[in-house]
C-alpha cells in the first residue's frame, strides 16, 4: 500500500502541472540547482561529526560507557543488551542498524530484547547527524539547548519503548 503513496502523489502533481500549463521543467531545474551548493555546504560538518563518532567507536569509548551506564539504564527499565544501542543510536544510523541486526541474530527476532530494540530504532533519530545537516547551512553555530533536549527526548523514547513492548 505505502509503496503507492509517492508515485500517486507525483502523478497528481504532474497532472495538475500539465493541466494548468505551468512550465514545470524550468521550475524543476531551477530548484534542483540548489542541491549542489547544499551538498557541498553540508559536507565538512558531516565529515567532522563522522570522524568524531568513528574514533569514539573504534577506541571502545562507547563500549566502556555502555558498561558504566548499564546500572543507570537498568534502573530506567532498559535491559543491559540494549545499553550500547541506546548510546550509539544518536550518533550513527548505519552503526545502530548493524547493532540491531546483531541483537536480533543473537536473541532471535521475536524475543523481548529484539522487539524493544526495533522500537528504539524506529522511534528515534540520529540526533547528531540531524543537527549537522539542519544547522550546517545556516549561520547558527550556538545551538543552545537544541541537542540536549533532543537527546533527552530520545532517552524518553527508549524508556517508553522498553516499557510498551512488555504489553504490546
Amino acid at each position: 500500500m505505502t509503496d503507492y503513496i509517492l508515485p500517486v502523489l507525483f502523478l497528481i502533481l504532474f497532472l495538475i502541472v500539465t493541466f494548468k500549463n505551468i512550465p514545470a521543467y524550468d521550475y524543476f531545474t531551477e530548484g534542483a540547482k540548489g542541491a549542489i551548493n547544499l551538498g557541498i555546504g553540508i559536507f565538512p560538518y558531516i565529515a567532522a561529526i563522522m570522524i568524531a563518532v568513528n574514533l569514539l567507536r573504534l577506541s571502545g569509548v562507547t563500549d566502556c560507557l555502555a558498561v558504566i551506564l548499564s546500572p543507570v539504564f537498568n534502573f530506567l527499565g532498559i535491559p543491559t543488551e540494549l545499553a550500547e544501542l541506546t548510546l550509539l543510536r544518536p550518533f550513527s544510523g548505519s552503526g545502530s542498524l548493524a547493532l540491531l541486526n546483531e541483537i536480533m541474530t543473537k536473541h532471535g527476532p521475536d524475543s523481548y530484547a529484539s522487539r524493544a530494540a526495533c522500537v528504539i530504532m524506529g522511534s528515534s533519530e540520529t540526533v547528531f547527524y540531524v543537527a549537522g545537516v539542519y544547522f550546517a547551512s545556516s549561520k547558527a553555530r550556538k545551538l543552545r539547548f537544541a541537542v540536549p533536549v533532543a537527546l533527552v527526548s530520545s532517552l524518553i523514547s527508549v524508556v517508553a519503548g522498553c516499557f510498551l513492548v512488555r504489553f504490546l
Partner: protein, 185 residues
C-alpha cells in the same frame, strides 16, 4: 573529536588516521547521495511553490505552526508545513531539504539558534515516522514470526518522544522568558 583522539592514542594509535579517512569517505558518499535526494526534492518543491500548493497547505496548518513556532513569516510557515507533512507521510528524506530551507529562512544571522529553529530541529530529531519499513524488512529477513508487530509500539513511542521534545522546548523557553522579564524589572 578530542576525546576520540585521546582514547585512540591509548588503545589503537595505528588505526587513528585510517579511522578518520574511513569516516570522511562515508561523509563524502553521504553528501553525494544527499545531493541526489535534494536535487529531486528541491525541484519538486520549487514546482509546488510556483503552483501555490504549499500556500494552501500552510494556511491549513497555520494555527498549529503559530502555536509551536510563534509568529513566523509566510515563507517560513510554508517550508515548515511542507516539512511536517513530508514527515507525517513517512517521507523522511523529503522532509530534510524542506526543513533546511525552513531553518535558513528563520535564521537571524546572529550565529545563535533561535527558539523557532530549535523547535523545528527537535521535532525532526525525535522522528515522527509512521512506517518503519527498513526495520520490518530486516525482521522479515531474519524470519520473525510477525515482522510487523512492532508498528504499534513504534508509533506510540515516537509520538511520546516528539511530544516530550516539544513540551521540553516550550518549558525551557517559558523559564528563560520569565528570567528575562525579571531582569528588566
Amino acid at each position: 573529536m578530542l576525546i576520540g583522539v585521546i582514547a585512540m592514542f591509548f588503545v589503537k594509535p595505528q588505526d587513528t588516521l585510517e579511522g578518520m579517512i574511513d569516516a570522511v569517505n562515508n561523509a563524502l558518499k553521504l553528501s553525494f547521495s544527499l545531493m541526489a535526494l535534494y536535487a529531486i526534492w528541491l525541484g519538486i518543491l520549487n514546482i509546488l511553490e510556483q503552483t501555490g500548493f504549499n500556500k494552501k497547505l500552510s494556511v491549513g496548518l497555520r494555527p498549529m505552526i503559530y502555536f509551536l513556532f510563534g509568529r513566523v513569516s509566510d515563507t517560513t510557515a510554508e517550508y515548515i508545513s511542507m516539512n511536517i507533512a513530508a514527515n507525517l507521510l513517512g517521507m523522511g528524506n523529503a522532509a530534510t531539504p524542506m526543513g533546511i530551507k525552513a531553518i535558513n529562512s528563520m535564521d537571524d544571522q546572529s550565529g545563535v539558534a533561535t527558539d523557532a529553529m530549535i523547535m523545528l530541529f527537535v521535532i525532526n530529531a525525535s522522528s515522527i515516522q509512521i512506517l518503519p519499513t527498513t526495520i520490518i524488512s530486516l525482521r522479515t529477513a531474519l524470519k520473525s514470526a510477525s515482522p510487523a508487530d512492532i508498528i504499534l509500539p513504534t508509533i506510540i513511542t515516537s509520538f511520546i518522544s516528539t511530544l516530550s521534545a516539544v513540551l521540553l522546548v516550550k518549558i525551557i523557553i517559558k523559564i528563560k522568558n520569565r528570567k528575562r522579564r525579571r531582569e528588566y524589572d
